[in-house]
C-alpha cells in the first residue's frame, strides 16, 4: 500500500465504516466484538487493497467469514455469559413502539437464535438491502439457499419471544 492507496483506503473506511460496523454488530450481537471484526476486516482489506475491485462486497464476505470462524471457535470452549442477554427484554414495546435501546437485546437474542448462515442472509438481505443473487454471490452459496435461509430465518424471528409481539401487533400479513 503506497501513500495514494493509503489515502483511498482511509476515504473508503470513512465513508463505509459506520455501515460495516452496524453489519458486524448485527452479525455478532456484541458491540465490542463487532469492533474487533470491523478492525480485522479492514486489516484484511488493506492487505489486498490494490487487488480488490469491490471493497464493499469484499468486506461483507470477510466479515461473514470472521464471524463464522468465531462461532466455531466459541463452540469449542464454554459459552460466555453475554451481558446484553441478561437485560430485561420481556416487553419490547415498553418505551415506544420502536425504542431502539430497549429493543436491542431482544433483537440480538432473536438473531442469536438463527444459524450463522441464516443470520448473514437476513442481515444482508434486509439490513443491507442486497438482492438474493447478490447475497448468494457474497456468501458463495446458491440463490435457492439464500431464499430458503431468508424464509426460515424470518419464520424463526417471527416466533422468537422477544420479537413476536412486534410482528404480531404491526398488522403484517403472517
Amino acid at each position: 500500500m503506497d501513500r495514494g492507496q493509503a489515502r483511498a483506503f482511509e476515504a473508503f473506511a470513512a465513508e463505509s465504516g459506520a455501515e460495516l460496523l452496524r453489519i458486524a454488530t448485527l452479525l455478532t450481537s456484541d458491540e465490542h466484538l463487532a469492533e474487533d471484526v470491523y478492525q480485522e476486516t479492514l486489516q484484511r482489506l488493506a492487505a489486498r487493497w490494490s487487488r480488490v475491485d469491490n471493497p464493499r462486497a469484499f468486506c461483507r464476505r470477510v466479515m461473514h467469514n470472521i464471524v463464522i470462524d468465531q462461532v466455531r471457535a466459541r463452540a469449542r470452549r464454554p459459552r460466555e455469559q453475554r451481558l446484553s442477554a441478561e437485560q430485561d427484554s420481556t416487553d419490547p414495546r415498553s418505551a415506544d413502539s420502536y425504542g431502539a435501546v430497549e429493543l436491542r437485546p431482544a433483537l440480538f437474542a432473536a438473531l442469536d437464535s438463527l444459524t450463522p448462515q441464516q443470520r448473514a442472509v437476513v442481515v444482508l438481505r434486509y439490513f443491507d438491502d442486497r438482492s438474493e443473487a447478490e447475497v448468494a454471490q457474497l456468501l458463495g452459496v446458491s440463490a435457492g439457499t439464500v431464499k430458503s435461509a431468508a424464509s426460515r430465518g424470518m419464520a424463526q424471528l417471527r416466533v422468537h419471544p422477544g420479537l413476536a409481539a412486534i410482528f404480531s401487533t404491526s398488522g403484517s400479513a403472517l
Binding site: G17, R22, E40, A46, Y98, I166, S172
Partner: protein
C-alpha cells in the same frame, strides 16, 4: 409504518444500530501498519532480484563520483560534526564490530498492535515463515518463498556511503515506478474482465490511477525511508549496517536522541526524520550496545490521516539465530 415483517425487521435493525460509529483512529492505524508492511515487502522483493540490484548498483556507482563530498550526499563526513552525527558514527562503529550469528535461521519475535508475530527468515534462501498469536489472526501464514533478500545478496550491496546513498535513491524510484505499473496493470485487467456499470467504474479508477502523481519525496526523504527499512532486516550484515548509519549521518534533517526508550521502556537511540513534503515522522529505535532494531514507528500527522494523528508501530521483542526452523509455538 412498515408494512411487512421484512420491513419491520429492516427498520428494527437500522434503529438498533443507529449511531454506531467505529473509532476514527482504526482505519488510519490499519493503513499505517499496512504501509509499513508494504515497505518491508517492497524492500524484500525489489532488493532481492539480482537484476534490480545490478541496475541500482550501476546507477549508484555512476552517480557516486559526482556526489561524493557534497553536503547531504553521504560522502565524506563534514569536518565539524553535529552531536547527532557523532552519535550515528559511534553507532556505525559499534555495528561494524558486531559478529553475525552462527545459525542459518533468524527468528524475530515482534508485537504488531494486539498480536505477537514470529518471523523465521532463512538467511540462505530468503524464505520466510510467519507464526502469529492473537485475536482474529491465523496462527500461521503460508511460507513466503524468497520473501527476503538473502544474507549474500545484502552482502553484495555497496558499503561506500556515497554509492549506498545513490543506490537507495535509485531503488526507491524503481520501486515507485514498478508499484504504479503493477497497479495500473491490475486495474486494466479488471476493466477488461468487467461488464456494464462496473466496467465503467473501473475504467474511471484506471484513469485516476494513471493521473495519480506520487508524493514527490526529496532525495533525503527517500534515503531515510529506504535506509530505515533496510536496517530493520536482521540479515543486513555488520558492514552494510555500519554503512547505512554513515549514510544517515550525512543526511540532512536526521534527528538523534540518545536517551530515548522504546514502547517497552528499553533504552534506545532514536533516529528519526520528518519527511519534508508530508510531515510524516519515521523513527527507528536502535539498541545502543548491539545496534539491532528495537522498534520502528511511522507517525502520520492529522492532515495526512483524516484529522487524526496515527502511529504505525512494530516492536521487536527478540532477534535470535537458530540452526533449524523452529516449530510454531502457536499451532493447535
Amino acid at each position: 409504518m412498515p408494512a411487512t415483517d421484512e420491513d419491520i425487521l429492516r427498520d428494527l435493525m437500522r434503529r438498533c444500530t443507529d449511531g454506531l460509529h467505529p473509532p476514527a483512529s482504526v482505519a488510519p492505524a490499519v493503513a499505517a501498519r499496512q504501509r509499513r508492511r508494504h515497505l518491508r515487502h517492497r524492500a524484500f522483493s525489489v532488493a532481492a532480484t539480482g537484476a534490480a540490484l545490478g541496475a541500482a548498483a550501476g546507477v549508484a556507482l555512476a552517480a557516486a563520483p559526482r556526489q561524493a563530498g557534497q553536503p547531504g550526499t553521504g560522502g565524506a563526513p563534514a569536518i565539524r560534526l553535529t552531536a547527532a552525527q557523532r552519535t550515528l558514527y559511534k553507532l556505525s562503529a559499534t555495528a561494524a564490530r558486531q559478529a553475525p550469528g552462527p545459525g542459518r535461521y533468524v527468528v524475530m519475535r515482534e508485537i504488531q498492535d494486539n498480536y505477537v508475530k514470529i518471523s523465521v527468515i532463512d538467511s540462505v534462501t530468503g524464505d520466510v515463515w510467519t507464526y502469529q498469536h492473537g485475536a482474529g489472526v491465523p496462527a500461521e501464514l503460508p511460507v513466503d518463498r524468497h520473501g527476503s533478500p538473502t544474507q549474500a545478496e545484502f552482502k553484495a550491496l555497496p558499503t561506500s556511503p556515497a554509492a549506498l546513498r545513490a543506490l537507495l535513491i535509485a531503488q526507491y524510484d524503481q520501486q515507485q515506478k514498478a508499484g504504479q505499473e503493477a497497479m495500473a496493470a491490475q486495474v486494466a485487467k479488471a476493466v477488461k474482465a468487467a461488464k456494464g456499470a462496473l466496467r465503467e467504474k473501473l475504467r474511471e479508477r484506471l484513469r485516476e490511477s494513471l493521473r495519480a502523481v506520487p508524493v514527490p519525496l526529496s532525495d533525503d526523504d527517500k534515503v531515510f525511508e529506504q535506509a530505515s527499512d533496510m536496517l530493520w532486516n536482521p540479515l543486513v550484515g555488520p558492514r552494510l549496517r555500519s554503512a547505512l548509519l554513515k549514510v544517515l549521518a550525512a543526511t540532512p534533517g536526521v534527528m538523534v536522541s540518545t536517551h530515548a526508550r522504546d514502547d517497552r521502556g528499553r533504552p534506545a537511540v532514536e533516529i528519526s526524520r520528518v519527511e519534508s513534503k508530508t510531515g510524516v515522522v519515521l523513527a527507528t529505535y536502535e539498541a545502543p550496545a548491539t545496534v539491532t532494531v528495537l522498534e520502528q514507528t511511522d507517525t502520520y500527522p492529522p492532515s495526512y490521516s483524516g484529522g487524526h494523528t496515527s502511529v504505525g508501530r512494530d516492536l521487536y521483542l527478540s532477534i535470535t539465530r537458530a540452526g533449524a526452523v523452529p516449530p510454531n509455538p502457536y499451532a493447535g
